[in-house]
Symmetry: C2
Subunit: 222 residues, 2 copies
């Protein structure tokens, strides 16, 4: 019975996610599902992205957290629309939550919607939220063994960001080993080394993101 | 139906966890459920604990991971018995998994059993594995906002360890704020600042752990 219920939940989620995905595509909005452990730097990447792109693109953010509006407060301070979802203990966002959240956003003229998921390398991998692409962040302070221990999110992501490169000299993180393991799991993903703190490597991230926005616009026209 | 199924799963887990807890208590074994985000330093704390206590106490470890035996390999190198549980995508250990794992351990003469859970600040909080105490690790690189965002594990833990203190000077981690938030959530827990890398602060951790072992021995005698 467990398995049936779980499969029903996943099926229903896929249905709503497909509906959202079609809506975003139709409007020419790039939707990103941003994943990673607690504290890997998801909100910091969103802040930097807004800072560097908000004059060029219209951006909105959905923040997922179990409790508090700490992340939404940080994003609101950046001057873009943000909706906080509190899961009240739930370990991932789902498509229905995002569907409710977008009702509070003006989708007209929007270029980029970033959904920052709950900090969790496991459960969010199973629940699409309507995204065109998943992006996962691994911070060097987490250790190079994480991609092989939590492969699903790394396999599913179109871009994989290694963050906190500013801390690399103070850790034992084996960058070559991590890069090799990630390449084994996902040869096609964009692989970007950044520091959200000192802004190094962010140009490559912005280039990747802009490429995705242009792809959405092109597909909307076609 | 969902809710009923989930409640049945949790109830069944509580049942097996209580059975394991009684078994550990009867044998005078201290059972610890070690929790924290991916890369917070759970395995490093276990390694240091073994290194510093293995001549004084008999220790065994159960390692929980989605995939790989990386952590069990590290522990085996420390010269104590270890059993790896692979959850194959599952986001937490449960009592039934631990029950299967302890069949591979010699419980006679054992003083301390540490169950290192899957790296996840959310889901493991709901599933007891027979422990006498939960211990959660927060690393300073994760940010001081995590206790309030993931309160359950912090509320449930008898000891809360702030790890990677060696990296504190290179981060923006507000130690006072984190300590204040943790104290709000859980005034009674032991709160310990350590660096598993340079071994600072570990004396306090060992003292706490030894106190728990003696408590188990006393309760076994009584």
């Amino acid at each position: 019975m467990e398995i049936t219920v779980m499969s029903n939940i996943l099926e229903k989620n896929e249905e709503i996610a497909a509906e959202l995905n079609a809506l975003f595509s139709k409007q020419g909005i790039l939707a990103i599902n941003l994943l990673g452990s607690p504290g890997c730097g998801k909100t910091s990447l969103v802040e930097q992205t807004i800072r560097l792109l908000k004059n060029e693109f219209s951006i909105a953010i959905i923040e997922g957290d179990l409790y508090t509006s700490k992340d939404a407060d940080r994003i609101a301070a950046c001057g873009v629309p943000v909706v906080q979802i509190n899961t009240h203990g739930g370990c991932h966002l789902d498509a229905a939550m995002v569907k409710t959240a977008i009702a509070k956003l003006d989708l007209e003229q929007l270029d980029i919607l970033i959904v920052e998921n709950v900090g969790n390398l496991v459960c969010p991998a199973e629940f699409a939220v309507g995204e065109h692409a998943k992006v996962v962040i691994l911070s060097v302070t987490e250790g190079e063994d994480k991609p092989l221990k939590y492969p699903a999110v790394f396999q599913q992501s179109a871009a994989i960001i290694i963050n906190k490169m500013d801390l690399l000299p103070y850790t034992d993180f084996a960058l070559d080993a991590a890069t090799g393991d990630i390449r084994e799991l996902n040869p096609d993903a964009a692989l970007l080394n950044v520091s959200c703190k000192n802004a190094s490597g962010l140009t490559d991230w912005l280039e990747w993101l802009k490429g995705q926005v242009l792809l959405r616009r092109k597909q909307k026209r076609d």
